[in-house]
Amino acid sequence: MAEMTNTNIGLSRGLESTPELKRWLLELAGSYQVLTPVEKGVNRVFAEISPGLEVVPDAPQERTVLPAKKAFLPPEEPLFGFEKDLLKPPPQPPGTVIFGLRVCELSADRLLTAAMESGPGDYPFTSRRRLGFTIGVPCRRSAACFCEKTGHDRIGAGDFDLFLASSEEGPVLWAGTVEGRELAQGAPFPVRAIEEEIRAPVPPDSQAWPLDALPGLLRESFGATMWEELATRCLGCGNCTVVCPLCYCFFTRDETGWDPSVGRRLRHWDSCQLVAFARVAGGHNFREARSERIWYRFSHKFMRMQEAFARPGCSGCGACLHFCPVDIDPRRVIEAVLEVTGSGQGAR
């Protein structure tokens, strides 16, 4: 494996799970909902901490099935209840501490929050996110991740609350925000302020994709045969969007009881890869072909989010590739876009 560039706070060092760490997190669980990565069978998942669970900040299994966004945007949530003409607000969300986020996950959290705060703002998300804390940990690279290609390989100090990393004198908690510093008050580790950004360990000669050019190139690639080729393999199963830390599309539905005047409105995660995603009343489907739906997924990430937030809606975590039954690799897709638009390796 190529040598990684050194990071400013020693991210290449592994982080051990210690009894002190667990005790501190359990202590925090007295006031907050504390989520941490744990092993669930062969999978890694974010789960609420409890005395019987083992905290595994640095496990060989590199990714959780669902991203941390599930804490702020649950797969299913009530938007409101109703009884005759009376509306009932959903239950108050708890304050949440998410421990064990890698650099790309912290970066994805910032971008997702920016997207959900834009325009009128997504109230259910922002009300939860406002009560949330993020605690970062060092990452290990896997063969499926590529944050250096998408610019999500670094995170500004104000964009996370705390970051736990190893140093020669043992673990250190780096505080990125005032709130983080306060949260760390009872922590069993030295707390230091950090002002510079934290960078993930990436291969030294790595280069980002031409992110500013990609919106135009994706537009240009619409209708190219590369999308048809992908569509012959793609099962349209929706795995890629469900496990994506930066997908946030949803649909709503009503649920009523035996008394039809009592019920609630729920929202669920949706996926642009599903046939019914762009189907409207009357039956028209704005994206009828699977190839169009695949193009749409990549264009939302590398065109629309890039244009709106100057960052792509792909953190480079590789979860979509890991969980794709037919191994559709986003790196190959973007490389193919560069290729078919004449902007590939040869052209540059």
């Binding site: 669930k40 393999r233 199963c237 039809p260 019914a276 969980f323």
Partner: protein, 200 residues
């Protein structure tokens, strides 16, 4: 409103079905047999005298109709698939009709609900799981228990059959894969091209 479970296998049952239709305003097919044929429809791919010999031993005087979903005989207003039918779908259908809503049943593949449950992916383990092409709505009962999806709820909307068969062929023999499709879905139109290429 009438719920019809199963398929007519005898002439009297066909008469009962027609009578039920005549006397009800809405007719719902309950479960995979009545909705699209289910297990009994597998008879279309076997010799009836063989079935009598091996499956219905000692019942040589059995006279079964050819098995078809009930929509073959009467108008069906709602279909609730699955073996067995899903309690959520039954509840949603009933409460929606009481409220005057259109029941909102899932048409997407099992994988979505399976990922949301953060289950172990059986396909990644090389097992022949029909999840990506099977309609969700059961609560991914089998994969959540570590058992590959058998496809009892029938196909999702526009399944990519070619890619799915290629993927599923990795962990199983082709005859076994065909058997898996024919367990519940012998008469499902989306899968006929698969069966046309394969004769027992």
């Amino acid at each position: 409103m009438a719920f019809v479970d199963g398929v007519p296998a005898r002439r009297e049952e066909l008469k009962t079905l027609q009578e039920v239709r005549r006397r009800s305003e809405l007719l719902v097919s309950l479960g995979s047999c009545s909705s699209f044929g289910g297990v009994p429809a597998a008879q279309h791919f076997h010799d009836l005298s063989d079935l009598k010999k091996y499956v219905y031993k000692g019942m040589e005087d059995l006279h079964s109709l050819e098995i078809f979903p009930i929509s073959n005989y009467v108008r069906v207003d709602f279909q609730l698939r699955g073996c067995p039918a899903s309690k959520w779908e039954i509840l949603e259908t009933l409460t929606a009709l009481i409220a005057g809503r259109v029941p909102q049943l899932k048409s997407y593949p099992q994988c979505v609900d399976c990922k949301i449950r953060e289950n172990r992916c059986l396909l990644l383990d090389g097992l022949p799981c029909l999840g990506p092409i099977t309609r969700a709505g059961c609560g991914v009962v089998c994969p959540s228990a570590g058992v590959p999806c058998d496809g009892c709820r029938g196909p999702t909307e526009e399944p990519n059959l070619t890619s799915a068969v290629k993927l599923l062929s990795r962990g199983t023999t082709y005859p076994d894969l065909i058997r898996k499709f024919q367990k519940y879905c012998s008469l499902v139109p989306e899968y006929q091209e698969l069966f046309d290429k394969w004769k027992w």
